[in-house]
Amino acid sequence: MIDGLETELRERFAPLADPTDDSNWAAVRARSSEHARHRQRPRPKLLLAAALVLGVLLVSPAVGLRGKVVRLFDHAPAAPERIRKGFGLLSGGALTGEARKVAHAAAGQGITATLWLTPTKGGGFCSAWGLDVPNTPPDSAGVGCYDRAMATTYPVGVTTELHGVSEDGTTLKGPVLLEGVVDLRVQSLELRFSDGDSAAIPFVWVPAPIATGFFLYAVPPRHWRKGHLPTTLLARDAEGHEVGHREIRGVSFPGS
């Protein structure tokens, strides 16, 4: 019966698929070369040492509010050419001339993470977290463009960046990074782990034209093991009421 259904569905879908082959591998390679120039990754061994709790440090005038730090976009230093070019490669309508360095975080071992932002023509923004490792080319990771609707419809969003699992299958390879965004309602963030631990996650709020908060957190090595992984990120308002939470997906082991 399943075979019959499978065949029937394949026959229904087939005429709806566009058979046009407009592929262009040469164009992919050219685009890839541009990315490689802007996004070369730091060496894993150095990044292992970088997996420390990151504290957001501001690069110019700011106001601190618990875990939330306000950063004025217009007062931030302009982004260098390589970052502006990187934003220009995205298709989000980035106003590359307005790109600015908004915050940086010390990660130990001389490694720093820097947040770059620029508004887009449509009222959204493009962001890039750059990891700078001594003696390696500058890196821009976590680049993306977001429209205005995204910044106002959900209080907190989080993505994860993993680097595989160890050979014995019980420990994640570092670094384990969580990066994400929060909206205006959020005043503090708490990350909970499966062993009962929790950690306050600092974030930087960037007012208009960005109007979004950003965080980058390097999960400590003691939480790379089964039974100790991050599980939930809680967002609270000024009164301490929960306004949103995200399950930490992606920080897991195959089959778990």
């Binding site: 399943i2 259904l5 499978e6 029937e8 569905l9 394949r10 229904r12 879908f13 005429p15 709806l16 698929a17 566009d18 058979p19 046009t20 082959d21 407009d22 592929s23 262009n24 591998w25 164009a27 992919v28 390679r29 685009r31 890839s32 070369s33 541009e34 990315h35 490689a36 996004r39 990754r41 995205l90 298709s91 989000g92 993306g144 463009c145 977001y146 429209d147 205005r148 609707a149 995204m150 419809t153 959900y154 907190v156 969003g157 989080v158 993505t159 680097h163 595989g164 699992v165 994400g180 965004v181 995200r246 997906r249 992606g250 195959p254 089959g255």
Partner: protein, 159 residues
Amino acid sequence: MDARAHELEQLYNARYVTFRNALATVTGSRESARDAVQEAFARALADRERYRDEGSLAAWVWKIAFRVALENRRRPQPWPLEENADPELLEPERDPELAAALRRLPPRRRLVVFLRYFGDFTYAEISAACGVSEGTIAASLAQAREELRAAMTPEGAAK
């Protein structure tokens, strides 16, 4: 060219059209899907040393493509990106019955269906792309087939 780059080129040549067609259900247009696939393979090529044979290469590239597609999607969606795809047939008027039946499926199940029938993904590839077990994918597809069949019968369509 190194072996991984060669592998990516082979994957691109073999799967470009199906990736684009599957992704178009997420982006809402073939043009944006094409751009997303191009961007995804470019990123994969630039970052190929990060791929460590965890799951299939096709699934790894698909995940990049999916993320690119949602970053550049036509329809605004909230975070988190992975949970808010709402894929649709590009030209529902070409098969209104199937389009209506698909709309009745939950978005995630609809995506699995599109990966299977537009993207030609194997169960293992869908499993790796979606981060769930093959058994779950098999069950999800079986359920989707039954729901589609039920919805496309006269009785089911009338409900």
